[in-house]
Amino acid sequence: MKLIHTALTALVVSPLLMGLAYADDHKPSACLITKTDTNPFFVKMREGAEAMSTEMGMDFKSFAGRLDGDHQTQVQAIETCIADGADGILLTASDTSAIVSAVEQAREAGLLVIALDTPLDPIGAADATFATDNFRAGELIGAWAAAQLGDEAANAHIGMLNINVSQPTVGVLRNQGFLTGFGIDTGDVNRWGDETDPRISGQDLSNGNEEGGRDGMENLLLMDPMINVVYTINEPAAAGAYQALKAIGREDDVLIVSVDGSCTGIADIRDGVIGATAQQYPLLMASKGMEAIYHWAQEGKKPMTTPGKAFFDTGVSLVTDSPAKGVESISVKKGMDLCWG
């Protein structure tokens, strides 16, 4: 009987002792909440964050919505992270304005909230934003396309394949950036569709995937069969658009530009499917974000922004094998070394 008493006491006391032992040893912990976990961009982000957490000795949990636009799951994930005692949250928001109330809750509870890739609306709702300058990404490919056409840029027939009907910030920034880089007046720079330049043959949606890219390109070609420049929101849409052009035999007559810099996309540039792409760096976003949370947990230090910008610019490079004068670019080989996915 005494043995059983002793054993039971030991069983009850040992976790308390263990708890005391670990009390001084609190590992910084971070949460990553992405839009989905099926888009390779977010998969890469998660892998980068996970690798960083192992390197820095942090606890790490990841969450994702079921699909792009799933706001509810992200709210629940933020609440879970607060309850879990996380030090910080890395977030790619599906609904950049609706998520603000949950983010405020987290900040009030002492968590550092960093928006990755997609700025919140307003941008100051997060403690920091680590993102690609999507406007600059669009500008680079727009300037490149105009330079490639040379004098013919004045008579270009441009088709635009955007993301989806709700005009998210990433879509608007890249679209308006492209037009600015090409030299076309954007009208209201906060939305697409209000431009009056006759060089824009049409704008359609692609939902950022191959099927949408193909459908959208076919629709644009019906509106103007002589389109010779195509802006695409990302590389899967570009791949779909290429198939539509190939179906009518015009794949060599049309310049396709895109944004992303995935390994699949860079391979498409090498094979002549896409003319140029603006490469972004999700791994860098994730690793810098994890570093920032570490410093916040250990020292209470908040991350800095890039001078002159409201966010920390993780960089963007134009990748192409046909460099254009006046537009800085890197080669496809270098793009392959830096690619993600």
Binding site: T38, V165, D204, E210, E211, E218, L222, Q243
Partner: protein
């Protein structure tokens, strides 16, 4: 002369004695139309399709009303059309299948990964992809027919399971069109084009049309087809009449899975690449096409050709409104209106006496 109540109302009328018949108790244009639609369920979507093509043709002229544009619509709806054929079979048995899109994507991923990861010849990979589709259908079919679980719940679960399997197996990897073209062009077979003047047909479009007609023939003129309708209309009565309902249900789900496998093959032809994130909305789009096509969600009535018309109606509206420059939301709004109108018409037709 005694009045035999079994004779027609008019006791002086001829003695028909050859077979039982019902008298048309009511006459009038409305009831004749109702009766006509009851016997030819695909007529309503056909009329809507023809009228919508005419209206858009008038508004847009030759930009819309050209062989190129009209066959383009066929190409744009070919994937949904093939899946809608599979969905029609299930809905005719008073079921519903939410997993059709996931089965399609998994089949296409199997075809791609077997070729590129294991180095198998394209023909073998395609075969395994089709088998995979039929297998998924079989699992749903067994759960519905043997365990008598509701199809909505079964296919809801299968949708999640098959989709997750797809992402886990493919590791989110897209196989590029360029690589497929070089190494296994047979995977893109359904994308091959046949041009007649300005009209362009792909193998996928021809397959979709052939599939619908073959299934239509089978449903109308074979015993199996009759049994499918019987099971959908009243499964208890069918069982009591000697129909092997469990086997019929299993065969329908397996056939549907196989058709989704073919849809996966056609998907590779359409987008050129193997993408695990494709076809996310295929289940909703196929149900939309089937409902607008006049097939009753309560089972047992409707023509599979109607689902082809339903898919085409959605395609016509989408392209027509796009060319008119309308906001994409108008398309979604009108599709919603069409769905409700189709179900309302279906309810009205059901009231016909025979």
């Amino acid at each position: 002369m005694t009045q035999n109540p079994l004779n027609s109302q008019n006791s002086d009328g001829p003695d028909t004695g050859s077979h039982a018949s019902f008298d048309q108790q009511r006459t009038g244009m409305v009831y004749r139309i109702q009766h006509l639609l009851h016997t030819n369920p695909a007529l309503v979507p056909l009329v809507v399709l023809v009228v919508s093509i005419a209206v858009f043709g008038m508004l847009l002229g030759s930009k819309f009303f050209s062989p190129f544009a009209l066959t383009l619509i066929l190409q744009q709806v070919q994937i949904v059309g093939i899946i809608a054929a599979a969905q029609s079979l299930i809905i005719l048995t008073a079921g519903i299948d939410l997993s059709v899109g996931a089965i399609m994507v998994l089949s296409s991923v199997v075809m791609g990964q077997f070729t590129f990861r294991y180095g198998l010849p394209a023909e073998i990979s395609i075969f395994f992809g089709l088998v995979c589709g039929a297998l998924c259908g079989m699992i749903s079919g067994l759960l519905v027919s043997r365990l008598k679980l509701p199809p909505f719940i079964v296919t809801l679960g299968m949708w999640q399971i098959v989709l997750a399997t797809n992402f886990l197996y493919s590791a989110n990897q897209t196989i590029r069109a360029h690589d497929i073209e070089e190494i296994a062009p047979l995977l893109q077979f359904f994308g091959y084009k046949i041009s007649i003047g300005n009209a362009v047909f792909t193998v996928g479009v021809l397959f979709m049309i052939a599939l619908v007609f073959v299934l239509g023939y089978a449903l109308k003129y074979t015993a199996w087809g009759r049994h499918v309708y019987a099971v959908g209309d009243d499964i208890e009565a069918a069982k009591l009449s000697g129909v092997k309902t469990e086997r019929v249900l299993l065969s329908v789900y397996m056939l549907s899975g196989l058709i989704c496998g073919f849809a996966g093959w056609a998907l590779i032809g359409r987008i050129g690449s193997v993408s695990p994130t494709a076809g996310q909305l295929a289940n909703i789009e196929s149900i939309t096409a089937v409902v607008i096509g006049g097939i009753s969600l309560f089972g047992g009535r409707g023509s599979i050709i109607g689902s082809l018309f339903g898919a085409l109606i959605v395609g016509v509206f989408t392209l027509g409104l796009r060319l008119l420059g309308a906001d994409a939301q108008w398309t979604y709004l009108l599709i919603g209106v069409l769905i409700i109108a189709a179900v309302a018409v279906d309810q009205w037709i059901r009231k016909a006496s025979v």
